[in-house]
Symmetry: C2
Subunit: 194 residues, 2 copies
Amino acid sequence: MARAGLTAERLIRAGAELADEVGFDQVTVSALARRFDVKVASLYSHLKNSQELKTGIALLALAELADRAADALAGRAGRDALTALADVYRDYAREHPGRYDAARLRLDPQTAAASAGVQQAQMTRALLRGYDLPEPDQTHAVRLLGSVFHGYVSLELAGGFSHSAPDSQESWTRILDALDALLRNWPAAPPPAP
Amino acid sequence: MARAGLTAERLIRAGAELADEVGFDQVTVSALARRFDVKVASLYSHLKNSQELKTGIALLALAELADRAADALAGRAGRDALTALADVYRDYAREHPGRYDAARLRLDPQTAAASAGVQQAQMTRALLRGYDLPEPDQTHAVRLLGSVFHGYVSLELAGGFSHSAPDSQESWTRILDALDALLRNWPAAPPPAP
DNA sequence: TAATTTGCCTAAAGGCTTTAGGCAAACGCA
DNA sequence: TGCGTTTGCCTAAAGCCTTTAGGCAAATTA
């Protein structure tokens, strides 16, 4: 019989599409085999196991996010850059909810360190250069921004802000305004208690 | 043979313990049956299906969180209240990582509306009364705080801030300082473009 | 074209979910 | 106390998912 032309690359890419269509937790080796009209066992020549498929999708999503972030930041600074980066996450999560979920997969430390997640942190740091924060405040701010972006987007995706006024877009804009103001006016560390 | 004395309540409680021990996604009806030394099918007299078990754990976690939040807020205001509430989430996630994950489960809108998640939003709102924000800014701030608490705690739990300086506790404190400052100094809505 | 490699297949074992039907323990009421 | 009813846990079985082992044919290479 004719061969289907499977590769790990193609499988992971198709897995990512599947995740966006049916949810990341519904992505199984079996479902993927069905999509390629091929027997399940065949995929195991290309994937070590189900975990590898999921990790692959996660890494793909992280890389795509980092790409978009790099594009968005090019030539921008300050509030402009902040908004652009924030929208990258939000838009990606809306366009690719399955991939976005995948990007939240717990990776083992080694895999995580080699992933594009690292570049994302560096880009947030680059963005903050426009705000001129000294270390270690810059790190605190990186963590704050990461938390807000991730937190807001997940809560929004989970439906937390729908069906209630004001609409989510307005909150998003105002929250970015507020963060911009905060970064311009970052409070100094309080003096240690005597 | 002697009966095991199963009830939906006990199963869900045991499921929550199991989640904390082995991770929420490892909670299965089968694993729970093993823990009670009972055949799998027996649990289906008490649980409609696996989903009901997971939803039950999620609702339990949301209720426990709301309880702790109510305790923490009693008699506190301003920065004090902010810190107390924030620590409720962070501490709960560290003590009960499985339950905390469960609390993030996608609930159908009806279930979500009846859950203790609603009270949590109300408590955040109560906390904000100390900062005297007009509507709709108060809602924006509720969403911001929810995002930061959830975002920070999930990233921390996923290991995002470990093995890098400064330590996570310091960032947490400084981020709460910053949020306190921001709430005291919430920027007005920018004028609409002409 | 012959030899080798590679890719997809069949087969099979083991785990999880869920339903159906059975027997015995516990309960409730005379 | 005894009898009937309800309830709780059991066995059995079907369906889907993962993963491994071993086989045959297509693609590649010499």
